[in-house]
């Protein structure tokens, strides 16, 4: 929590601290918008810190703290719209985007920050893993869920369990291609989250290139990527599927059928490449629920705290 509080001006930090108090474990986002009060988003509800208005001066303060007094470093971050800070938390940015030759070249006059609290929930994927187990390997798996459903948190724990090994299988060599620096939350190339003992992370590497790089030089047994969606990603995936490496990846979507309809992803479904589909949903009062589908996209089983274990 300290690494987040230090982003706020000294006059503001006590108020923020008081508002969060002991609810840090359920805190998901802190939203800062210029000339507006601060918004705190918890798992089940959101609240405002009405005592403080976030001024443009405070904005400058947060920005210098984010860059560690070195704004010149943030060229790429401003282009991508987020910054990863100590502790693996990510700060999303909004402001005036400026373009260069039709491409986003950076951002000026930042107006909003979205501080997403990163969490590592160990053993989250433990119940799920046996379904992906193919004896000596793991099956190709696609994880589906809407934003904030916990796809990334799940993927993180899968990486950790697969690479460190469980009582069923010894640890596998895992390469994580972390294009958005979210899975491992690397800082200066070193993962901030525990992704297991046999995991190598390609930080900030484009997924399509990264998968090829990994196969060429890192000899992985399992490749883990977050959020596929672009055409190149799909083409690269089609290539990699036949390289003898298990792939586990995630995609945004509110249901499996909806994802199957997306044009860019269609080739993956036509070839029936994935052997497992997992749909993740998250409800504050219940927790995580996973629906597991087989290769033919028939639901196999639902796992979650709200489901009785028979």
């Amino acid at each position: 929590m300290q690494e987040i509080l230090r982003l706020f001006p000294p006059s503001m930090a006590p108020d923020v601290f008081a508002a969060i108090k002991n609810r840090f474990s359920t805190l998901e986002e802190i939203r800062l918008r210029v000339d507006k009060p601060i918004e705190l988003i918890f798992t089940s509800r959101s609240s405002w810190i009405k005592e403080v208005i976030f001024s443009s001066k405070d904005r400058d303060f947060v920005l210098t703290q984010l860059s560690e007094h070195s704004l010149y470093r943030l060229e790429t971050e401003l282009k991508e719209g987020f910054i990863t800070i100590d502790g693996g938390h990510r700060v999303g940015l909004a402001g005036k985007v400026h373009l260069h030759k039709g491409q986003v070249a950076g951002m000026h006059f930042i107006s909003s920050f979205n501080i997403r609290i990163a969490k590592q929930i160990r053993h989250l994927a433990l119940d799920l893993l046996p379904y992906l187990d193919h004896g000596q390997t793991y099956g190709h798996t696609l994880i589906i869920g809407s934003p904030q459903a916990g796809k990334t948190t799940l993927l993180r724990d899968l990486a950790r369990l697969i690479s460190s090994g469980t009582y069923r299988q010894s640890g596998k060599k895992v390469t994580v291609i972390d294009e958005r620096s979210e899975l491992a939350a690397s800082k200066d190339g070193v993962p901030q989250f525990d992704l297991g003992r046999r995991t190598d992370v390609l930080d900030r590497c484009p997924k399509a290139t990264g998968m090829m790089m990994a196969i060429r030089s890192l000899s992985p047994e399992v490749i883990i990527v977050d959020e596929i969606g672009k055409k190149e990603d799909v083409l690269a995936l089609l290539d990699v599927f036949h390289a003898g490496v298990s792939i586990i990846c995630t995609v945004h979507g509110s249901s499996l059928d909806e994802v199957a309809k997306r044009i860019t992803l269609k080739p993956l479904f036509l070839e029936r490449i994935f052997q497992h589909y997992i749909f993740v949903s998250h409800e504050a009062s219940i927790g995580f629920t996973y629906t597991i589908y087989d290769q033919e996209r028939n639901p196999l089983r639902i796992i979650g705290p709200g489901v009785s274990d028979d």
């Binding site: 000294p10 210098t64 860059s67 704004l71 010149y72 060229e75």
Partner: protein
Amino acid sequence: MIKLIGAMMIVLTTTLIGFDISRQMEARTEELRDLIYSLQMMEAEMNYSYETLQSIFQSVGEKTADPIGLFYRQLARKLESPVAYFYSIWEQNLQYLQQTTSLKNEEIKILKQLGNNLGNHPISQQEKEITLTRFYLQKTLDEATEQKNQYVKTIKTISVLIGIFIVLILI
């Protein structure tokens, strides 16, 4: 005998004062030169390594002669723990720099100006700021060098002569 010793002490004192003044002049040009080099290094590091100010200060400090090097290393040490306002520690350290070096108000002011902008701009802007600072410092260095070349010898000679002159008056 006592008179002779007294006279010698007077001459010695004025001579030493003269030498000290000229030494300060020489030190100032030296320090200004180090400062300009260090800024050049800083700019290059910002451009190529994209490191934080903290680590740039550390590496520049290690490559620069003291007392300028010390100035950077102290800044680096202070930045190791989270700092709310960078400018306040920059100003503090400038004060210390002024006390421990021969730098004058003029260049301290230029550096203060730089501190206001350091780390607050994207790289292209940051480069311009540093280049501008270097330009100003170069100008003061040129003036200081000229002054030094003109006066150092004269001051040394005059200081001896003044000593002798005082002795002559007192006798």
